[in-house]
Symmetry: C3
């Protein structure tokens, strides 16, 4: 078990730093400071919403998935970069948000977080020929399965899930569009990346991004703002808009396309705007698809749209300096390997 | 932006011809004349059904997707062959058929048509290792997303979509099976490739095919007839039969397997018949899958079945003369590239 | 048609043995004796449940898919190993279980069984780059399509399918957990691999496995027992537990991971246990996903989980002796080919 031994040989601070980077990697930032600030935002929002289990779930999921990477001897370099933990921390946020606070949920949370570590490895193997990553899809896929499972496993109750319905009532369209309200929706769009419904958390996340990359913070802000405008123009469901549920996937797409997988140029900026627009419709489409199941899309729309905008492999001056993001390194390593 | 420049250097007629070929390529015919006749059939049917927006949508979608290919500098050869436009023209038929005639729909139609151009490029990259094409799946996938999105975006209303239900009423089974009625169902099956519910359009489409390839016209006729017979033998939903909704996917499968991807032999004819039979059941199966979502299968059953019959890569004397179909050229180029 | 000629040149006993091996290969056993005992178990259970059509369907499906392999000239070696028939025999069990006993069903059964033979070839081509097999997914995919089709084709009535619903009633949780009852659920979990609801059949299947591989029998027993324990601990639907519906997929995963694709070591045993646990949740998740469609998961959860546990390609001393399983040979041959 050499990945575990590797980490045991390092000072404890290395393991801690790598684990914290896992939280940062949710938004593609390989920075322990960003990770700490993300966790701070999660704790603020979870306690504000009286759901402390969400915050502690995030910590448990982050640690479980990182430890899984050590124990099953995943690639050590990826562990140092925090690439084991970002799916686990999201599992940890999602389970207590949608399911009851019982021992069955916690055991499932730990197992599912660990599962994402090798599912990510497998999915990345599948996608390697096309030079794309599995992004947060291991979290999305595994969490969908466990949330759906709660409909058959009554002791892991999914009481906080939406009721499955065939169609949405075309009624609740009253939306406060005052400037202050719009700012709150905009910030909540950013907070919802970690399933947190708090504008303060959104503001903390923006600071956390700026600590590591001002471009990422800017694109996150743009992604949430633009998606808000489109959702309002198309008369989208008011409650989803007000809770930031149209914002979180475009935020991730914007960071991915605008400042992670391509270098920052005017061309990639236009491409990122097109990707943000596409994400809003794919978000609404996947929301519609989930109606009869009553489960959330999670970050699925972000994954799908980002793949659609990476798969054509257009050349836009790939970022020359790979130090800002290990995701780019991943891709380049894969290219060398072949 | 060299693809755009390439086209600007050519006489205007080249751009017009390439755009029209896009309509022809929906049924695998690289011919501007076939494209013009297809558009004529669409206009006839759309005005006959009092939905002129469908015809104009087809033109807008065709142009938008072709221009997208020029602007984002897709492969020039594929542009000349009309391979940018065939997904867009279908998007243009589908949006006004299922959604309301409002500005939000038209903006979405243009954006979605353009989207299919690079989604096609990405999907083709994905499928390259298996020597298959994405066929019309870029249209299918993107349109599904926007139709589902209309359930959350009330101003882009999807009032013409079916109501989502859990099961079909086993009632409306009364079908007029007189010879005249059967001929109408048979021709409507061909017209529905472009979502047009008119037997005159079906007849025009048969002529349009024969202009470019008599084999394609014959296989289209066979595909619609055979699927009609099976649907009746299995007591399928009468309204779907009468509107030609069991016919359009088998028509496309028949042309694809019988006269496009294999040379025309007795062996490939048997294979095409098996593929037509499979398409009917996969059509009914996907119809059943769509019940709780209330969206149409579009040409999804054609795509799925054609992949199933191409993926085993059986050798049946591959068509030696690639001039009749650029799809075959595509595949051969890919083979050479590897 | 050389595969057919090959078989015609052999003594009849070769064709019979290869066909029977097809039944054995459902649980990865390349043994005609195991196949005979599986069929014996199916006949016992089908007659016990007063559904003899299920047993005869199994025979018809097995023969139809094997003959299809001969006629379309599939790889002769795979035919000898029984790899054409295992999807067909499952189609033959599933169709009369869920659909009415009419001529349309029998024609569809034969066509669908044959279909699985080349769909398997195609799916294996797709999965070849990742060194995984399509497992029983050709059966799962094709059967899903035909079962869903029965919702639109009223003469092929799917009266035995569940009613599509949006959510399960949280009522029927009364489960007899006496020792005798638990043993019955445990054995039914093994019998349900072939969709048979009889504990006697489960016992016969265990014997049939032991004839060819004691390890496979042991893992089957473990898979059903462990999944039963988890389902009870999580308060899963009582009727599903009592009918063995949480057991059959983990049984297959356990044999696949524990004794087929890896050599039998402590490491692979731990891995198999993790895979069994994952299968239970993915089974419940896919059950939840199927609620609005009212169709069964079939062995889908086994396929999905086994892929998730094979795709990372961890090295655990691959089985050196390939004689016990042609599946391993398949994989090794594919490796050599590349």
């Amino acid at each position: 078990m050499s990945a575990l031994q590797h980490f045991l040989k390092q000072p404890l601070s290395v393991s801690v730093r790598s684990t914290l980077r896992g939280a940062g990697q949710v938004m593609f930032q390989q920075s322990a400071w960003t990770g700490i600030l993300f966790l701070a935002g999660i704790f603020w929002g979870a306690y504000e919403c009286h759901t402390p289990a969400v915050a502690w779930g995030a910590v448990v999921g982050l640690v479980a998935s990182t430890v899984a990477g050590m124990v099953i001897n995943e690639n050590f370099e990826q562990g140092i970069d925090g690439l084991w933990g970002f799916n686990g921390v999201l599992v940890g946020c999602a389970f207590p948000t949608f399911m009851g606070n019982c021992w069955q949920m916690w055991v499932a949370l730990i197992f599912c977080s660990m599962l994402t570590t090798w599912v990510r490895h497998g999915f990345n193997n599948v996608m390697e020929p096309w030079k794309v990553n599995s992004l947060t899809f291991p979290f999305v896929f595994c969490t969908w399965m466990f949330l759906l499972a709660s409909r058959y496993m009554f002791d892991m109750d999914g009481d906080e899930l939406s009721k499955p319905v065939l169609a949405l009532a075309d009624s609740c369209r009253t939306l406060d569009t005052g400037f202050g309200a719009l700012v709150i929706y905009w910030l909540k769009g950013i907070a919802q990346v970690f399933l947190i419904n708090s504008w303060v958390t959104g503001a903390i996340f923006l600071v956390a991004l700026a600590v590591c990359s001002r471009a990422a913070a800017l694109y996150a802000a743009l992604g949430s703002a633009l998606s808000l405008a489109i959702a309002i123009a198309y008369g989208a469901d008011a409650s989803n808009i007000a809770n930031g549920l149209f914002g979180f996937s475009p935020v991730l797409t914007a960071i991915a396309i605008g400042s992670t997988f391509y270098s920052i140029t005017w061309k990639s900026a236009v491409w990122a705007v097109a990707a943000i627009v596409a994400t809003v419709f794919i978000q609404a489409g996947m929301d519609g698809m989930m109606l009869p199941f009553g489960i959330p899309t999670l970050t699925g729309p972000f994954c799908v749209t980002t793949w659609l905008f990476l798969l054509p492999r257009y050349q836009m001056d790939k970022r020359a300096d790979p130090d800002h993001s290990s995701w780019v390194k991943d891709i380049e390593e894969e290219e060398n390997r072949q």
